[in-house]
């Protein structure tokens, strides 16, 4: 949906979009199954790695550092992607429409994440003697509350996905020839006919669930960073950490969205949907998140560095200046300096490859950052100390760790692929809604679009 000064912009009709998407949806052929096979094999390798770690048991916490870091990475990317679309929907940004379903589909990855949290909880040391946010009410903490929160978020994410997919599921139900797939889709469509009342329920439901998701997500990050990171490090009283993680997640989720869009463009031919407008518009919040990433990190750093208190100083030696300096620097570049330098330039920002490349860098940087935070925390031998002494060295991944990381990411992508067989990966009704709100008119000699904003 480009416009120029010479050509009159062409707005496709709802029917054209529906036909195209349905066509792609129906013919999920060999290429699709090829990808699924690859992802499934990688996922199985991940399970192998996990079993190796499981065989060693939970006594040595440092074995599980990479597992937890992977969970956090997945939470920051896949579990945060629905926030991107919910937020853009709230802000009524028109350019979100083509990729909202992609981000929502990622909510199914929460199933794998929830499963992964169970062994992570088992690896935690008991609450006594160390800092924790459960204070004097450790009833069921941390296991019960963590599981409940992750479970609830997963549930809300999937409900949100399902609700918002209903119109398209109905379209699929009507389009597909009778088969097992069609029966499943018919059940999922829950009798959607497009009645006004149904639409109202959809709007209200998605609004409320979207709001809940956005409110619950910072809670998840708070619990996760408190229980799995800060609570294991002596004297680590860093109030901004949950907020830093939320910002880093939003950045990583936006980056991942860009990467997925780019891959889908290249590999699956979705270039009509993921155009420069999407990449350029998402690059702007990406730049802001990158700046915020630095800002939140710096707020924590300057407080500890300036205060020169022994406990805090040894922790920044550990996490930033000494043991984990390498990952810190890499992440600093990939999550802040790189995006800043690249996205400030108009030609880079206003392209497709620019934001996608920066997004890929951000995703890698996010993984490295989460590794730095969680593997470091899990490598501390005694969390009941008053001051971290001695300062442990950095911890490279072992082969099972690499398998776990690769396997988990593949597992999430596999779930995405599988759900895309049922739920069309482009949101036909949302694009259709957007098309109704756009018209072309001549404006002082140029053809421009008028975009209406409904109240």
């Amino acid at each position: 949906m480009h416009n120029g000064e010479e050509e009159i912009p062409v707005i496709p009709t709802h029917q054209e979009v529906a036909a195209d998407v349905m066509g792609r949806y129906q013919e999920l052929g060999r290429r699709y199954w090829g990808w699924v096979t690859v992802l499934a094999s990688l996922f199985l390798l991940g399970i192998v790695g996990f079993v190796i770690r499981l065989a060693d048991g939970f006594d040595d916490r440092s074995n599980w550092g990479y597992h937890v870091a992977t969970i956090s990475f997945l939470v920051s990317t896949f579990m945060a992607m629905p926030i991107i679309s919910a937020g853009l929907r709230l802000a009524k940004a028109n350019w979100r429409r083509s990729f909202t379903r992609v981000t929502e589909n990622m909510a199914v990855a929460s199933l794998l994440i929830v499963l992964m949290v169970i062994p992570a909880l088992a690896a935690l040391p008991p609450l006594e003697g160390r800092m924790n946010i459960w204070f004097e009410f450790p009833l069921g903490a941390p296991n019960l509350w963590n599981m409940m929160s992750f479970g609830t978020l997963a549930l809300i994410g999937i409900s949100l996905l399902w609700t918002l997919a209903l119109p398209d599921l109905a379209a699929a139900r009507d389009h597909l020839p009778p088969s097992r797939r069609q029966r499943i889709v018919r059940w999922m469509a829950m009798g959607w006919v497009g009645h006004v009342r149904q639409w109202r329920v959809l709007y209200m439901g998605s609004l409320i669930m979207g709001a809940f998701y956005m409110l619950l997500y910072p809670l998840i990050q708070t619990l996760m960073i408190s229980d799995f990171h800060a609570g294991l490090l002596p004297a680590w009283k860093d109030a901004i950490l949950p907020a830093t993680q939320v910002v880093a997640s939003l950045q990583a989720a936006a980056g991942m969205t860009l990467v997925v869009m780019y891959v889908m463009r290249r590999v699956a031919g979705y270039d009509r949907y993921f155009t420069v407008e999407q990449f350029w518009s998402l690059a702007k919040p990406l730049l802001s998140f990158s700046l915020l990433w630095f800002y939140f990190w710096w707020a924590s750093f300057i407080t500890f560095w300036y205060g020169r208190q022994p406990g805090e100083s040894s922790l920044i030696q550990f996490l930033i200046l000494d043991s984990w300096r390498g990952p810190m620097m890499v992440s600093f570049f990939l999550n802040f300096l790189g995006p800043l330098i690249a996205l400030v330039w108009n030609p880079v920002r206003r392209s497709i490859w620019g934001p996608a490349l920066v997004g890929a860098g951000i995703v890698v940087g996010a993984l490295i950052n989460q590794i730095r935070l969680y593997v470091a925390a899990f490598s501390v031998a005694d969390p009941t100390q008053h001051v971290l002494d001695p300062i442990p060295a950095g911890q490279w991944p072992g082969p099972p760790d690499v398998l776990i990381v690769v396997g988990a990411i593949s597992g999430c992508l596999l779930l995405f692929m599988l759900v895309s067989k049922l739920i069309p990966v482009i949101s036909i009704w949302e694009i259709g809604e957007g098309l109704r709100l756009v018209k072309v008119r001549k404006f002082y000699g140029r053809y421009l679009r008028v975009i209406a904003k409904s109240h």
Binding site: W305, Y306, G307, R308, Q309, P310, G311, S313, S314, I316, Q317, L321, H386
Partner: protein, 256 residues
Amino acid sequence: MATQAKPSTDTNHGTIGHKWAMVIDLDRCTGCQACVIACQSENNVRFNEESAFHEGRVMQWIRVERYWEHVPTGKQVRDDRLAEFPNVKARFIPILCQHCDNAPCEPVCPVFATYHNNEGLNVQVYNRCVGTRYCGNNCPYHARSFNYWEPVWPESLQNQLNPDVTVRTRGVMEKCSFCIQRIRRATRGGGEVEDGAFDPACVQSCPTGAMTFGNINNDKSRVAELAKSERHFRVMEGLGTSPSVIYLKKVDGTHA
């Protein structure tokens, strides 16, 4: 800027020659406050009437803090109406500027009115001070006093002022200087000062000899010897301020 290594509590922290330190033996301190009066006379500290205490505008470079201790449990009693003799006893601790090696008051002054000199002293430069009072906030020992009013001495006492020490104006922060005027006088000729050649006013006036002052870089000085005592501690060591004032714990028959 301070280095990022854990601040050591050894002395010799970047000093050349002398490093001034003080040891206060709490077992000998009776809370008589002779040190307070001596300091006031020596350093031209303003008189404090009763109203100053009520207003919280007391000017004291060294003060004796008094805490009530509940003898059976060893816990602090905040309200002295709640306990009576013999279940209560008083604990004294004279607090003065600790001349921290890692002083938190120093980096926050916008005009360099307080800095660390090469003899380990935390120096206050009155004529640079503009009175933002950030240093006072950052001092964990509450060692700093601010001149809220213009200090006035009655005419009869103006001859008593020490000519070696500046008289401060209002709006300026002041604090213990380890009697830097006496240090300057003693070190004027150069070379190492003999241990015990001079003392700050508070040390000089202590009737029980609870306070000792000297060059802790000199291993044979009294200060260095006393600092090695098994009773030694520094106040709020966990903050990493690395004070130069070392206290010796009171020996108590009742509990450890």
